[in-house]
Amino acid sequence: MTLGHTPAELMVAAAAREIQDGEVVFVGMRLPLLAFCLARSTHAPTAVGLFENGVVRDSAALAFLVTMSDGPNVTGAVWCTDMREVMGLMQSGRVTLGFIGGAQVDRFGNLNTISVGPRSGAVRLPGSGGAADIASLARRHVVIMAHERRRFVERVDHVTSPGHGEGGDWRARTGLPGGGPSAVITTLGLFRFDAATREMVLASVHPGVTVDEVQAQTGWSLRHADPLIETRPPSTDELTMIRRFDPEGFWTGARH
């Protein structure tokens, strides 16, 4: 029997499954903090986590984290260094997977984290943080975000974190060393990118979600895999572990 799960718990489980054992992961803020702990505690026991503040861990955090600089993410780390060191390792190709989010994403996986809307009356956002660096430099990266029509747009207002640009071989032509986005995990489904065109393709829908619902929340005509599968919900073991690292549901929401 599977326990009931929240949408965010399913996203954490899906994100954790993107981490293969032995990978070097650049762990971003929010849900990725949990995804790394989950992967590390289940199927990826030799994964290594790099955090932009300078923490490098080969174990899950010792307790619940609100930020990567909280005490339980530092105690037992294998290395505490500075930002330039960990960003430099990512630039030299040592990071196989990074996680980022954004306010807007487009069909080629470009992300906007700077400003939304017309020039006058634009809504200012907090900014890139390390996301533009992860998008540029990690060998591949995974995007995690809420799926709403205002966020899934044909063209982002600003490309803060470069995805596949205009598609095809845009990244190589632009000189970006990293491979770009490999997946987008949303509140409705999981997307991958066409190997040639680099367009985002719906690969699986979360349980209870239809393709029409996903299309309704997406600002371009969506392609989907055929046959389309359902995202595997978190197992009892995965849920137990997620709740160990987020006991109050701070990141993963109210449970019933």
């Binding site: 503040n53 609100v66 005490g71 960003m87 634009a122 803060t160 970006l176």
Partner: protein, 304 residues
Amino acid sequence: MSKVLPLAEALRRHVPDGASVALGTALECLIPFAAAHELIRQGRRDLTLVGPISDVCFEQLIAAGCVRRVVAAWVGNVQHGAAYAFRRALEQGVPRSLEIEDHSNFSIALALEAAAQGVPYLPTRSLLGSDLLARNPRLRVAPCPFTGIPLVLVSALAPDVAILHVQRADADGNCHAWGPTGVSAAAGKASRAIVVLTEELVAPEVIRSDPNRTLLPGFLVTAVVHIPGGAHPSPVQGHYNRDHALYADWHAHSATAEDAVKWLDEWVRGLPDHSGYLAKLGRARLDRLRSRAVQLAAPVDYGY
């Protein structure tokens, strides 16, 4: 010669109106909130704030009207994702207009590192194809003179002063910090002056017992302020944990300009100094935050 000064005096001397100030350089930990609050109390104006993500430290200084310009990669409340004060200032000019120079975390680290090393710029392969290049004239694309590949050149950034919080320092400013340090060492070396806030003021031999732990040597440091609890609500490894409730409180009380001012009146301007702030927090709350899981490092032998 001792560089130890009271906080108010150190900031009066070394952080004038209009200064560019690096702070919050270790990301979410070791944020010198006591210094930010004292700058607000002293009514500092026209500051340029420099730092990668800052957490609510920049939010509070902006809401207090101390800031003219921000050089940063991310401004807001990490725990809640919102940037109420930053948005009000940029979108509506409340309480005053604000300029922003947008960076990524890596590019601001490189900008400070370039100044620390005394070179006009440092190259990176990050941000190619990002609109940050169009927004920030201090990021420029040029071909590598050796290989021809495109590079982003990041112009050096030298703040007037860096305010850094550490676990321990001696009276000369030789200081130890542990845990992640973000861009702290680069920010210190890049700046014309360094004000160190420290949890513990220790004898010189404590620093010399473990020189690999030194964040910055004293000859670079301008002033030392002994201020236990000075990073609250941010965490200081081995001393206290993050006070998440205070970030939630700021989130709840910064959505409007009026509420933000009320919050600052209650928690900053209405208190005489940092001791008053700690007294308002109360012993029970501070005790709950205190680090409990003592984890001493294995001793290292520096003998010869």
